[in-house]
């Protein structure tokens, strides 16, 4: 049996035995960004495929709760320029203002488009899309609270993802479901030429040749012990980009969502505070007034998360261990909770046995979103740097959604802007790609030889990492495992690179990561099967996470200031003189370079960095 | 298969026939129990009353319909698809013969009377 299995497994790393497909473009990832992009391309003449690690509606967009920002003004006066101001301020001025203007201007139209696609938005009495207030939103450039977040109860992500999948069914999009993207493939001229994927169910490797690849692989908060992310969020696309010799941008910026279920991590949407919920400390005090006197609980997420962490650190936490605070909705009308927040009420009931109608819910900041990612312009084109340090697009490679860093979120993302980001740039990238493809004949690109050695080596490593035989039960074997290494990685990232960081924690982290990297290289696997081999899959995912841990640790260590979600206890102030710039991390030697922030919007005047008060 | 008895129509016919049968049998039973019938000819006379005769004829038809829908449902659910066609054909033929016989009998009742 062993030899047969060996022979079968060796097919994995033998390109001669891979099925070959040709496409004009391949989209990797079927969350909101990937599906919006696919929908646009399916309506053109191009031959396009979507590769998804899970069945599309299981992508993590499905878990987004609160809503999507657009200055529709259905509830109170609004315009895109105010939205832009809030986003720039929320980003702690690290966001690129050309991209932010682009996104905020597109927002109203693209939300109406989603509505026409079928998204079951909640409604106002006038029959228009319901909007709720969210953190960091203002009217008239900071004067008063805005009401900008369009919502389908508290299941907006679910509603949008399912709708986009449904429209793709209508458009006849080609899907490779439960297929894991292993690596980008370049041809011998260095041009992006396709993708190698693993069909999870059969265990077969497949080669997709394509003129263009769009990465839409989502975030990577599985790096942290408590997180709101799904198990699939392992940053596969980001890691592929690093292995292809391209940089990642601003990887020190990870958003910790203020209200994750304490100790568990499930997300309780900002909508809870938007609808009137309050955070209380161990003394029962609604403490946000001390941190954001004007907007209190609706301050920007980084501000609220830090406030909670400080309350707990200074001994004003709740519970026996004083290790969390409470999210209190008990003063709200029960009907409001049941109608507007049914999903998070369910989460509290299921995981804590608490009904938020009559009991406050223990919460603590939880890793939620990656502001950094693959650097792109606002057409979704992936950027790298020339030798002279100039940004330049990588021909044929696009990135959209959470895996991309456009950068519209800068150092801190506003609630409701991520669903907007994915659909706006999903569509924008597809439009740009359509125009590019129209100029070329895709088959012209299928001639040059492919550079397959790196991906073959990687596959061969994980095929050979399988123990030839089960170890003798009496003989102590090396009992390290993928699960153990992942657990250690998540714990150390949480401890040394969480809400607060210092030079000491970050340099310790870099050492620990080297050690973990060696363990990952040595670890053996037990599953020799082809069909649905989860252990091999998790090994490759962990490899991806590990690459991103290095990117995060090195970028964070270098940035000696506090900005947005990156809080250095040893450098508590923002330093625009030295650090109003994006970090670019390359895998080779953990090299870091920098590029300026775009402070020049497309049509309006830029917003100059100011002190950030809420 | 024809659209005659698919989907909603079959569903409705099944419910309609069930309702009719549920009404007919208790009422007919009650009616017959209240008659003094000792001879065949008396029975024939009762049966030949126009209202009773028509109701009985409808009942016979609806039994056939009800049985057709019910048995077909069972066949669709349990039998491998390839044999369903054959089975249905046989069943349809059987029901047809039965219905023909029943109507002939009813007709002869009327003629005798």
């Amino acid at each position: 049996m062993t030899t047969q299995t060996d022979n079968e497994s060796s097919r994995l790393s033998d390109p001669g035995q891979w099925d070959l497909y040709h496409f004009d473009a391949v989209i990797v990832g079927a969350g909101g960004a990937g599906l919006r992009s696919a929908l646009q391309l399916a309506q053109s003449e191009q031959k396009v495929a979507v590769v998804s690690k899970v069945f599309p509606t299981r992508s993590h967009t499905v878990a987004a709760q609160g809503g999507i920002n657009a200055a529709l003004g259905n509830v109170s006066d609004d315009n895109w320029h105010w939205h832009m101001y809030d986003t720039v301020k929320g980003s702690d001025y690290l966001g690129d203002q050309d991209a932010i203007e682009f996104m905020c201007r597109e927002a109203t139209e693209i939300v109406r488009e989603l509505e026409h696609f079928g998204v079951p938005f909640s409604r106002t009495d006038a029959g228009k899309i319901y909007q709720r207030p969210f953190g960091g939103q203002s009217q008239d450039f900071g004067a008063s609270q805005a009401t900008r977040t369009c919502a389908a109860a508290d299941r907006t992500g679910h509603a949008i993802l399912h709708t986009l999948y449904q429209q793709n069914l209508r458009a006849g999009t080609t899907f490779f479901n439960e297929a894991f993207a292993i690596d980008l493939v370049k041809d011998t001229t260095g041009q992006i030429a396709g993708l190698v994927i693993l069909d999870i169910a059969s265990g077969e490797t497949r080669l997709l040749r394509a003129r263009s690849v769009v990465l839409a692989t989502g975030g990577a908060c599985q790096l942290f012990e408590t997180n709101t992310n799904a198990k699939i969020n392992t940053g596969d696309g980001l890691s592929m980009v690093l292995r292809a010799g391209l940089p990642l941008q601003d990887m020190e910026f990870w958003q910790f969502h203020p209200t994750g279920v304490a100790g568990k991590g499930m997300l309780l949407s900002e909508a809870a505070r938007g609808e009137g919920g309050l955070l209380r400390n161990g003394d029962g005090k609604a403490f946000m007034v001390d941190y954001a006197p004007n907007v209190k609980d609706l301050a920007s997420r980084d501000v609220v998360a830090r406030a909670i962490a400080v309350e707990v650190k200074e001994g004003r936490g709740c519970g026996l261990k004083k290790d969390h605070v409470l999210l209190d909705l008990t003063h709200l009308d029960e009907e409001v909770i049941k109608k507007r927040l049914p999903g998070i009420r369910d989460i509290a009931l299921t995981f804590l046995g608490l009904d938020m109608c009559d009991s406050p819910i223990p919460v603590y900041p939880t890793a939620h979103y990656m502001m950094g990612g693959i650097p792109t312009n606002f057409h979704g084109q992936v950027l790298t740097q020339t030798a002279a340090g100039e940004p330049t697009p990588v021909d044929g490679l696009y990135a959209i959604g959470e895996c991309a860093c456009v950068s519209v979120h800068g150092a801190n993302r506003l609630g409701g802007n991520s669903l907007l980001d994915i659909v706006v740039f999903g569509r924008a990238a597809a439009r740009h790609l359509q125009a590019t493809l129209a100029e070329h004949k895709a088959s012209d690109f299928f001639d040059p030889e492919l550079e397959l050695t790196p991906v073959v080596q990687r596959l061969a490593h994980w095929t050979q990492a399988v123990q030839a035989e089960k170890p003798d039960a009496n003989e102590p074997s090396d009992d390290d495992s993928i699960a153990a290494i992942r657990r250690d990685l998540q714990a150390v990232m949480q401890r040394d690179c969480g809400v607060f960081r210092t030079e000491q924690t970050l340099s310790e982290l870099c050492d620990t990561l080297n050690n973990l990297q060696q363990r990952l290289h040595r670890v053996t696997l037990q599953d020799a099967g082809l069909a649905f081999n989860l252990e091999r899959l998790e090994a490759m995912e962990l490899e991806n996470l590990m690459t991103l841990a290095f990117a995060t640790a090195h970028s964070a260590r270098a940035r000696t200031e506090s900005r947005g979600a990156h809080s250095r206890m040893d450098y508590p102030e923002r330093n625009d003189q030295a650090w109003l710039k994006h970090s670019l991390y390359f895998r080779q030697d953990h090299a870091l370079t920098y590029k300026p922030v775009n402070l020049t919007p497309l049509t309006v005047d830029g917003f100059e960095p100011k002190a950030r008060v809420y | 298969m024809s659209r005659l008895l698919t989907g909603l129509k079959a569903h409705l016919w099944q419910r309609l026939s069930a309702f009719w049968l549920l009404m007919y049998f208790p009422l007919a039973g009650l009616y017959l129990a209240n008659q003094t019938i000792t001879q065949h000819a008396q029975l024939m006379a009762v049966l030949a009353q126009p209202l009773f005769w028509v109701a009985t004829l409808i009942t016979l038809g609806l039994i056939a319909v009800h049985a057709w829908v019910g048995v077909r449902d069972i066949l669709l659910d349990y039998l491998p698809r390839s044999s369903v066609g054959v089975a249905l054909l046989a069943l349809g033929a059987g029901l047809g013969v039965w219905l023909g016989f029943a109507i002939y009998t009813a007709w002869s009742v009327l003629v005798q009377a």
Binding site: Q4, T5, V54, F55, T57, R58, S59, H60, V62, A63, L72, E109, R112, E113, E115, H116, F117, G118, P120, F121, S122, R123, T124, D125, G127, I129, A152, R155, H158, A159, T163, Q166, L169, R170, A201, A230, K231, I232, M266, L267, D346, F351, L352, S481, I482, A483, A484, Q526, G529, A531, F532, L534, E535 | M1, T6, G7, L8, H11, D73, D77
Partner: protein, 238 residues
């Protein structure tokens, strides 16, 4: 605590078998979900295979048959289960490996109900300057069907679906069908109802109600199917 889990690896196992696993009682905390327990068991045996992703009951990956009931493992508390906990793949569809089933037939039935909003004629462009208005009452009619997560717990517990998975739409797809039939924005209601009026597609439902009993999101596909039937009747009368 004992678990008896269905194992099948097509490459090496001639037949499926049940394997017993054990978790230390101390490891099974009161608030532990079954998914957490399964993850601990995977550390004992990394070849144990099941789908899972979001860990909070919204992605619909981890449907499985536990003590005879289809559930999502991530929102099922271990302490509510009688030991030994018998875990099998959801019934009625082919097994790929261990608890992982091939859901293609399920997805095909979903696709077959045209599960997408059609607010305009096919070649009509949509007016992006205006929203389609919908009153809160009209919107409320979508509650109870748009929340479906396509986990398959309903369809794989439905005998009618076991018998005709290639012809009967099954509860999840019919729930989706209802969602678009009752959406005030959709202009194809009549066509939808006409297409659904078929002895196999809709009328294999015998009101067994396993779907409703097993829906982890508390939805009621059975009621939705009956609603479709009465809407068809209404359409006939109109």
């Amino acid at each position: 605590m004992q678990f008896s889990i269905y194992r099948y690896q097509p490459q090496t196992d001639a037949e499926p078998f049940m394997q017993t696993f054990e978790l230390d009682e101390a490891q099974v905390t009161d608030d532990m979900m079954l998914l957490g327990a399964l993850e601990l068991l995977r550390e004992q045996d990394p070849t144990l295979t099941f789908r899972s992703s979001c860990k909070e009951g919204v992605c619909g990956s981890d449907g499985m048959n536990v003590n005879g009931q289809n559930v999502l493992s991530c929102i099922t508390r271990v302490r509510t289960l009688k030991a030994p906990v018998v875990i099998r793949p959801m019934p009625g569809l082919p097994v790929i490996r261990d608890l992982v089933i091939d859901m293609d037939l399920f997805y095909q039935q979903y696709e077959a109900v045209d599960p997408y909003l059609q607010p305009t004629q096919p070649n009509q462009t949509i007016d992006l300057d205006h929203e389609l208005l919908q009153s809160p009452e009209e919107r409320e009619r979508l509650d109870g069907s748009y929340e479906c997560i396509l986990c398959g717990c309903c369809a794989t517990s439905c005998p009618s679906f076991w018998w005709n998975p290639d012809q009967f739409h099954g509860p999840a797809a019919l729930l989706a069908a209802r969602r678009f039939v009752v959406d005030s924005r959709d202009i194809t209601t009549r066509d939808r109802l006409e297409k659904l009026d078929d002895v196999y597609k809709t009328f294999r439902c015998r009101n067994i109600q396993n779907c409703t009993a097993s829906c982890p999101k508390g939805l009621n596909p059975s009621q939705a199917i009956n609603e479709l039937k009465s809407l068809m009747l209404k359409k006939q009368v109109d």
